[in-house]
Amino acid sequence: MSEKMVLMQGNEAVAEGAIAAGVRFYAGYPITPSSEVAETMAKRMPEVGGTFIQMEDEIASIMAIVGASLAGKKVLTATSGPGFSLMQEGLGYACMVEAPIVILDSMRYGPSTGMATKVSQMDLMQTRWGTHGDHWVIVLSPSSVEESYQLTIRAVNLAEKYRNPVIVLSDETISHLREPIDISIPPVLVERRLPTAKADYLPYRTDESLVPTVANVGTGFRTSCTGLVHGESGFQTANGHVAEALVERLRDKLFNNLDDIIQFETDRVEDADVLFMSFGITARGVSEAVETLRSHGRKAGSLRFITLFPFDDDRVRKAAGNARTIVVPELNSGQLVLLVKRVFGDSRKVVPMNKINGDLISPQEILNFLREENL
């Protein structure tokens, strides 16, 4: 192992990535399998001049990071399904007031308290649709410890750049995996845009970027925010036109920048006749299965979603090559496959592959699946 490499657990990598990205405020509540993030932050925040606070529940945790974010800090909280459910109202609030926040959801088996120490990918749709009302979030999915570190940095940067919640969607296995990673290169940091002139200050006025320059509280701008529909002033209104413009802007500020936000990893898509679409830990089994299939002469390929949301049908279609068969392995009863079917309709054979017993999908199982399904 080179000197640059350090052995780190997935959850520690999220904490260290956040610190490298400038996070200096962490609020959280213990829950398996995310607790090591809180434990790491409890030790590390005071060392870097930051603040760690253990709150009374996940509702308080997300609201505390929203408060700290409004006061100018880069912030993180970490949780798992049951806690993520409690955070949903705060997530919607952060979308509405455009507070940059980052949440790690380390997926365990659900529903309800499910199996705390078993892996799943059952929260995918919850990240997108968990809170009420039309809203848009960015969801990033690491499939290794190294990527847990790098994507947490990216999550903090995207949150600050677009003033939007970003969810790092990990899982029990990656959270507890230990791998050597390289953290020697200092990351490029993004800072939120702030207003320059106090005269005529309107917190939610935007330029063509559609991202407002909301002042941090306590900086003399006398700023206002509310979860109610608001115009540029940040004050409540029941005007339908203002409401429509606000919700459209919350969408467009992300959708006008899909090139910046969306990342896939593709492997031998060009000539593939069978293509796997997956994310997170499942993509690692896929990667090995593709190697084996190729060594046997089968033209297999892989598309791994690094950015899960925003989900852009056109980009997925273009990245998918011409494979007639698309297999979607995931640790749930079929969530990602719904999106893939939406993209391709009847133009390709889209085949779900689901595992819901709390174990991972192994490369051999993927090979067996192709054989059994005659794919």
Partner: protein
């Protein structure tokens, strides 16, 4: 009170005629004014409900959050920027029902914020339902046969949870209210003021409390100063609400196990 502490362009306020919220808000602005706080360093955080609309009428930074969640937001702001004076504006339901867990934990932690409870004994915004502070037997839209439960004593709740400054006042006693708000804001540690106000539209009407004016002036009949109450018997105090300062102690000083030990 300096009128420039108001956002005049946002007035008149949305509250019903005779609502007590404006009176508590005026007292709060008066207290901030008298303390000569730099308005740039004051942040008002609220939840959801009639009272939680108050910060939007002030010239300070204001954060209108979610139902019950003003205290964790305020905690985040205060810890992120300890130089700020962070004041939570909340109602009886917002603070003691949906936000009750946050209230007791903020008190336990002794976070240096001030919670001002605009207490009108019911949920006004949603149509006059019972709150945890609604007195037993009172009529509300969700207790049409009278409130069966006992209310919280908010002062005892906050004190029991570890608040280091707790006071109660009523809007009739405007100077008393301003005085205790000043002490609460100036206090180093978690402070709470139970500011008893009136909801003539719902609680007052359902419980035959008379006009808004009568609800205001009647406070002198059913509120007793703590100094006076101390000389009275429990029988004499039946049905009375005691106002004054209940807790004013030094802030809990945390000791870190990792703190370097002094050399012998």
């Amino acid at each position: 009170m300096r009128l420039d502490l108001l956002r005049s362009e946002r007035l008149p306020n949305i509250w019903c005629p005779g609502c007590g919220n404006g009176i508590v808000l005026r007292a709060l602005l008066e207290a901030i004014d008298q303390l000569q706080l730099d308005p740039d360093n004051v942040v008002l955080v609220s939840g959801i409900g009639c009272s939680s609309r108050a910060p939007a009428y002030t010239a300070f930074d204001n954060v209108h959050s979610l139902h019950g969640r003003a205290i964790p937001v305020a905690t985040g702001i205060k810890l992120a920027n300890p130089d700020l004076t962070v004041i939570v504006v909340t109602g009886d339901g917002d603070s003691s029902a949906i936000g009750g867990n946050h209230l007791i934990h903020a008190a336990r932690r002794d976070v240096d914020i001030t919670v001002v409870v605009f207490n009108n004994y019911n949920y006004g915004m949603t149509g006059g339902q019972a709150s945890p502070l609604t007195p037993t037997s009172s009529i509300t839209t969700t207790t049409p046969n009278g409130m069966l439960d006992r209310p919280f004593d908010l002062v005892k709740l906050a004190a029991g949870a570890g608040a280091t400054y707790v006071a109660r006042s009523g809007i009739y006693f405007a100077k008393h209210l301003v005085d205790h708000l000043k002490k609460a804001i100036a206090h180093d540690g978690f402070s709470l003021v139970d500011a008893v106000a009136q909801c003539p539209t719902y609680f007052g009407r359902f419980n035959r409390k008379g006009s808004a004016g009568q609800m205001v002036t009647s406070q002198k009949d059913w509120m007793v100063l703590k100094s006076v109450a101390e000389k009275k018997t429990p029988e004499e105090l039946a049905g009375k609400v005691i106002i004054g300062e209940f807790v004013n102690i030094e802030r809990h000083a945390p000791v870190s196990a990792a703190a370097p030990k002094e050399q012998a």
